[in-house]
């Protein structure tokens, strides 16, 4: 057991003084560590970080994103990934090494306006993000209801090990695909189920930082409020997106504990 101290911070707030390592959204100023964004500051054994509560999506390598094909050149597609950088999907990634712009018709695979699921394979401050669709479950999204939420709410929507999204999927008989960039696609056979899932997702987005959210979502979805069994590995995109040990899990812990407090 080690103690992790958490507190709410805004830019310029001193989090802690001493020899800690600044991790995420934290800068050193003299002997103190200072927050640079609004969020929840965590002081742990390995350092100090701030989990942001607002902001646009900034790509990271290995993120799973949902994007829209907005253009293509003879060598690559341009993809809007809801960020300040537009991403590129090289044609070689789809057609293989022997791709020839003269022989292969790129619009056969992805036309302008198509939605795709992709993974970011390269991104740094000097170049735009590069995507790949060469993995299980990546590629074109044929149908579904499209939603755009803030990228900072994605971890909350997924929930701890996918618990929140699993609740929504099970109660509404839908399948929810979540990109780390805040784009969500809901598919289901019944339009009522899709509508209900959309309402639930909107509620999660609006009330992400409040306590007792899971209970209220269950209320909205008419799910009996019992302790859920430990979620099994769904082997899906969502499960991949919520790997334990990442920031997502930590923010969920904070919120789960908030919920526990609320129950008392």
């Amino acid at each position: 057991m080690h103690e992790v101290k958490r507190r709410y911070v805004i830019p310029g707030d001193k989090i802690v003084e001493g020899n800690f390592r600044p991790l995420m959204n934290v800068i050193r100023s003299g002997n103190a560590l200072v927050a640079t964004r609004i969020g929840i500051a965590e002081t742990g054994r390995d350092g100090v970080k701030v989990i942001p509560l607002s902001g646009v999506y900034i790509p990271r390598v290995n993120d799973l994103v949902i994007g829209k094909i907005i253009d293509h050149s003879s060598l690559s597609w341009e993809v809007d990934i809801n960020s300040c950088f537009s991403a590129h999907l090289p044609a070689q990634d789809v057609f293989g090494r022997d791709f020839s712009s003269a022989r292969d018709d790129m619009t056969k695979h992805f036309a302008i306006g198509d939605m795709i699921t992709a993974r970011i394979i390269a991104f740094d401050r000097t170049r735009d993000p590069m995507l790949t669709v060469q993995d299980r479950d990546l590629g074109k999204i044929p149908r579904g209801e499209l939603l755009r939420i803030s990228a900072t709410r994605v971890p909350r929507l997924i929930g701890k090990r996918g618990s929140m999204i699993q609740t929504i999927e099970q109660a509404t008989q839908t399948r929810v695909l979540i990109g780390q960039n805040g784009i969500v696609v809901v598919t289901g056979r019944l339009p009522e189920g899709v509508n209900l899932a959309v309402r639930a997702i909107r509620m999660v987005e609006e009330e992400a930082h409040t306590a007792n959210l899971t209970q209220r979502i269950k209320g909205l979805l008419n799910v009996p409020d019992t302790t859920t069994p430990p979620p099994q590995d769904r082997g899906s995109l969502v499960a991949e997106a919520s790997k334990p040990g990442e920031i997502e899990s930590t923010i969920d812990e904070v919120e789960e504990e908030l919920e526990v407090e609320g129950e008392k």
């Binding site: 992790v4 709410y8 509560l53 950088f85 504990e257």
Partner: protein, 247 residues
């Protein structure tokens, strides 16, 4: 700048009933523009200013983009109905200048190198003006930037001071600005103790200058507390701290 009547009465009260160190009532609401990435509405005395921040987003036209950092673009605009007589909505010389000094006042607080090749747009719309609107605009813009989740070293708080009836007073209002002897808008980053904007309209003796600057900085610190409260209220309600054991 000719003074026609007393702006401070025999009891030391100013035209709106404040003392020489009094700040006008300040109220900041965060997140008032739904479609913006960050926004704030400030009421600074009779000033009513709406600020919307968009970005970081793609730069258009693309040649404006900088390879190593983000471009900050600022637009200060007064609505035609914000003044006593209708103001022409076209950007005036004054508005172009204020847009520039605002950008320069906010830039030192932002970590623009975190967002290379992108742009952040700040739109400051004055809906009702009452003197000191650039200070109120900078104050609200800095809150809106924090609301947009942009990395910052510190918030920028801003307040003016000036000379009225040969006395140095805090937070000049419209009448004191027009009829008083000097007006000094100051923007300040309290944690870093750095001044990011310092303008002066009027004449001050060297000692008066120092007194005026100190007073404006003290005013900025008061505004800073209001900024912090507004952000805390929006994001965390009334809670301030959480602490627990994690295995």
């Amino acid at each position: 700048m000719t003074q026609t009547r007393n702006l401070i009465d025999e009891n030391g009260k100013r035209t709106d009933g404040r003392g020489v160190d009094g700040l006008r009532p300040v109220k900041i609401t965060v997140g008032s523009v739904k479609n913006a990435d960050g926004s704030a509405f400030i009421e600074f005395g009779k000033n009513k200013i709406l600020v919307a921040v968009y970005g970081p987003r793609e730069v258009h036209p693309k040649h404006m983009a900088l390879p190593d950092r983000c471009v900050l673009r600022c637009r200060y605009h007064m609505s035609p109905f914000s003044t006593d007589t209708r103001k022409n909505p076209a950007p005036s010389r004054r508005e172009v200048e204020i847009s520039k000094v605002m950008r320069e006042a906010l830039e030192p607080a932002l970590m623009l190198q975190d967002y290379p090749r992108a742009a952040i747009d700040v739109f400051v719309e004055v809906l009702q003006s009452d003197g000191g609107s650039r200070c109120a605009g900078i104050t609200a813009a800095s809150v809106a930037l924090a609301d947009a989740g942009i990395s910052m070293h510190d918030l920028v708080a801003s307040c003016a001071a000036g000379k009225v009836d040969d006395k140095i007073v805090l937070d000049i209002n419209d009448q004191e600005d027009k009829e008083g002897q000097a007006d000094m808008p100051v923007a300040y980053m309290p944690r870093l103790e750095q001044v990011t904007l310092l303008q002066l309209d009027g004449r001050l003796e060297p000692e008066q200058f120092n007194e005026c600057l100190e007073k404006a900085i003290d005013g900025s610190k008061m505004v800073y507390e209001i900024q912090k409260q507004a952000l805390m209220q929006k994001y965390f309600g009334n809670e301030t701290e959480l602490k627990e054991e994690v295995p």
